[in-house]
């Protein structure tokens, strides 16, 4: 019986591992991934809060001789998500001592939209989840099996270590305080040593001082003294989004708790569907009956990672689609984990009823069927989180860089274009002759030279940039940028906008070099075709991927307009509103379609249809959807 149980567990976890590896991203994915890969490979520093633990974990995986740098960092997510699932299995076993309930809870979490999504891309959330799950396990062991000072020290160390990954982990301090209060007399004398071990864990952050000064590795925000360290560690650059400001926001606008609860409900429904709600309630009842202290500890943990977290980051009446993608899909992984634990306990309540039945078939077959039932969700994940098929970010960045003149200046904007360029140019060493600078504000031409370093190498190549004479370098079509300059853009007084390959070419207003540019652009059609194919073939509900494809298809249509058509079959007026933060402009041009470019017309429409933002899972709840309805 015990052997059967082990084999069931091993086979299930091997299956989890297989799925996550198979559906993981084989190349760089959208969002922060590019930055993380570069920072990890070069042992540099990522955006605040720096993520030293994650970067070093990534570096370990870079030692294995399989795949490429990006894929290896994705494996960090895979490994820690599997380990988190294993901890979940043990947690349910501790509470219910029933393998089917434990497996049910693991399968439920395994197929959930966001947990799966975060497990197959290069992101730190599963590592964070693993640390949180370990602290949860320690807390429950202390409650159920009795006080052990060693576990208290270990939890202190883990909390300290979690500070070097993501501040979400520090949220476990609150529920763990309850564990200490439950054992107040015993734990009091051990708290000083627990703090010492916490400080030992915190020492991982020394990494930021040693690798973050900008002289070694790729660094996004430099750390050179205590103030700059605190600025990065506490994410002060994000102003309202800084860790301290967010913590303070818990106690303001109390009425917003209503929206926090509402949004949490949406996230849970989208991840587990409504049928699990009664199960979770059964689970809570079961845990309460079994141990009130465990109940308080788990409910507090859930409370921290749902309501408190939502109040800090996700408690507005209308939330834009970007925040839905970044917030709902990422921050709430610990909440999903604890919820799955509740469901596992709830399943045990039901199974316990069945186990008492006299019918063997009920005892044996039904638990298996119920446990495996959530696996039907895999079909959906294969079409919305199948990152194995997503080459869009890699392909698009490659096309953009490929189309740029030797020794040119490329101005990126936004996480996607910027981080993907950093990956390909700095870690992948592709088209190193291009000086890539990134802009923080779409309306201001103040740029960071982060992918144009070391500057002594690039000074002789793009001396115009270093001398502040952009007009000179722009004359030859050697300045390209992500921002499409509309008439209201400050730079449009000096530059005019020309369509490039998925980006804009900034030409001085008085220059007429359109003919050369158009001729050159047509020669890059094969690159654009491949990227558009990737936009058609990806099977991911990844908002950033859709956004990249959606905007690029317009540039693709413009490329089609450059072809000389002998006999016009149709004429289309293409208009597209482009928004970069608060800056919005419109692309507008006519295309004559003929036999020479009709394949492009078909692809343009297909890509737009396939990457319609309205398909995105959280779109119906977004500000954009509400605006559309009111319009």
């Amino acid at each position: 019986m015990q052997n059967n149980s082990k084999i069931t567990g091993l086979v299930t976890f091997a299956f989890f591992l297989f799925c996550y590896i198979y559906f993981s991203s084989p190349v760089v994915n959208t969002g922060d991934a590019g930055e993380f890969i570069v920072s990890s490979y070069t042992l540099g520093l990522a955006h605040p809060s720096g993520y030293p633990l994650y970067l070093q974990m990534g570096k370990i995986l870079q030692m294995i001789p399989f795949g490429n740098m990006a894929f290896r960092l994705v494996l960090v997510s895979v490994i820690f998500s599997i380990l988190s699932l294993y901890i979940l299995f043990n947690l349910v076993m501790l509470l219910a001592e029933d393998r089917w309930s434990a497996l049910f809870s693991c399968i439920l979490l395994f197929v959930s939209y966001s947990f799966w999504g975060q497990s197959v891309i290069a992101k730190f959330y599963t590592l964070n989840m693993f640390i949180i799950s370990l602290i949860l396990l320690i807390g429950i062991i202390i409650i159920i099996k009795g006080f052990d000072k060693r576990l208290v020290y270990l939890s202190g160390f883990l909390i300290g270590v979690s500070s070097s990954n993501h501040h979400l982990g520090l949220g476990m301090v609150i529920p763990f305080l309850f564990v200490l209060i439950f054992n107040f007399k015993k734990s009091l004398k051990h708290i000083p040593l627990m703090i010492v071990f916490g400080i030992l864990g915190f020492l991982v952050n020394i990494y930021m001082f040693l690798r973050g000064n900008g002289t070694k590795g790729f660094v996004m925000t430099v750390v050179y003294d205590l103030n700059s360290f605190l600025s990065v560690f506490l994410r002060k650059n994000y102003a309202e989004g800084s860790s301290t400001a967010l913590t303070g926001s818990i106690f303001t606008n109390i009425s917003n708790f209503y929206y926090a609860v509402k949004n949490i409900g949406i996230i849970l429904d989208e991840n587990f569907s409504f049928y699990t709600f009664p199960l979770a309630i059964f689970g809570l009842i079961y845990i309460f009956q079994k141990s009130k202290k465990t109940f308080i500890f788990l409910v507090m943990s859930f409370f921290v990672y749902s309501l408190i977290l939502a109040k800090m980051t996700f408690a507005a009446e209308v939330i834009n689609i970007n925040t839905w993608y970044l917030g709902a899909h990422q921050y709430f992984i610990p909440m999903l984990f604890i919820y799955a634990l509740f469901c596992g306990a709830g399943m045990f309540m039901i199974l316990n009823f069945l186990y008492r039945s006299k019918f063997n078939i009920l005892k044996r077959a039904v638990p298996v069927l119920l446990c495996l039932f959530p696996l039907v969700g895999i079909m959906e994940r294969m079409t919305d989180q199948n990152f194995n098929s997503n080459f869009v970010p890699y392909s698009m960045t490659k096309s953009i860089l490929s189309s740029q003149p030797v020794g040119s200046l490329y101005v990126t904007f936004g996480d996607n274009h910027t981080f993907q360029t950093w990956y390909l140019k700095v870690a992948g060493r592709y088209r190193e002759d291009i000086c890539s600078v990134d802009s923080l504000n779409p309306q201001i031409a103040s740029w960071n030279l982060r992918a144009c370093r070391p500057s002594f190498l690039y000074k002789p190549l793009v001396s115009e940039l270093f001398n502040g004479d952009l007009l000179e370098i722009a004359k030859k079509g050697r300045v390209q940028g992500v921002i499409f300059l509309g008439d209201n853009h400050p730079m449009s007084k000096v530059f005019r906008n020309e369509y490039g390959l998925f980006v804009s070419i900034y030409l001085p207003r008085n220059t007429k070099s359109d003919v050369i540019i158009k001729k050159n652009l047509i020669s890059f059609k094969p690159y654009a075709d491949i990227t558009m194919n990737d936009c058609l073939l990806h099977l991911t509900d990844d908002y950033f991927t859709m956004l990249l494809c959606n905007v690029s298809s317009t540039y693709y249509a413009h490329l089609g307009s450059l072809f000389q058509v002998k006999q016009s079959l149709a004429e289309t007026l293409i208009t597209k509103k482009i928004t970069h933060e608060d800056y919005t402009t419109e692309m507008k041009f006519k295309v004559n379609w003929g036999v020479e470019n009709e394949d492009m017309l078909l692809k343009y429409h297909a890509v737009n249809k396939k990457n319609d933002i309205k398909i995105f899972r959280y779109f119906p709840y977004s500000k954009e959807a509400k605006h559309e309805t009111s319009d």
């Binding site: 795949g67 894929f71 071990f197």
Partner: protein, 208 residues
């Protein structure tokens, strides 16, 4: 303990087998696509697909070396930017699959020379730079191409291993050392281990 080690080894083997399986499927898939493009004389599309085969790197895979050979041949037949991008893609793909060892070093040195030459010529042509400035211009591209942005492999390895080392030492101190009564022997070993690994970690971070 032996059982735990057995499970860990089994997990690592299964993990690697799954990775190899996935990568092999990608290699096979893109190799077929690339061959198809190559057959139809779509050279740019072909080299872009061969690049993806290389990115799904499995040591010793015949598809990778075949892709590199075919890609090099295609690159040689291309002109202007396609030629630059093709050689650069090949070079980039090799760098992207680099682990503590850089595979296909011999090819890289050959490609590097070609890339420097191509970029120099293209840049001079587009910016109307006189021929007598060739050496000066070539030096710019040579410096950029030869600049190594990666940290030292040895020190990087030492850093990540020693991070695990000091994590393990702290865990050892807590779980095996701080028992009732305190196990002094384990405690001394744990504390010593911590200081050694921590020092190595700091040194690694400093030197890498």
């Amino acid at each position: 303990m032996k059982r735990v080690i057995r499970y860990i080894i089994l997990s690592i083997v299964v993990f690697l087998l799954f990775i190899i399986f996935k990568l092999y499927l990608i290699e096979r898939d893109f190799f077929e696509k690339a061959s198809e493009y190559e057959k139809n004389k779509h050279s740019v599309e072909a080299f872009l697909m061969y690049e993806r085969v290389i990115l799904a790197y499995i040591p010793g895979s015949p598809l990778i070396s075949e892709s590199l050979d075919r890609m090099e041949k295609i690159c040689g037949d291309l002109k202007d930017y396609d030629r630059i991008n093709c050689f650069d893609s090949m070079r980039s793909a090799i760098y992207q699959v680099r682990f503590f060892y850089l595979p296909y070093k011999d090819r890289l040195s050959r490609i590097d020379e070609e890339i420097i030459r191509l970029k120099t010529n293209q840049y001079m042509k587009e910016n109307s730079i006189p021929v007598q400035n060739y050496n000066e211009t070539e030096k710019i591209f040579r410096n950029i191409t030869e600049y190594n942005p990666y940290p030292s492999d040895f020190w990087s390895f030492l850093t990540v291993v020693s991070l695990f080392g000091w994590f393990a030492s702290v865990t050892l101190i807590v779980l095996r050392g701080l028992t009732e009564p305190v196990n002094k022997r384990v405690l001394v070993i744990g504390v010593m281990g911590f200081f050694i690994f921590f020092t190595l970690w700091i040194s690694g971070l400093y030197m890498a």
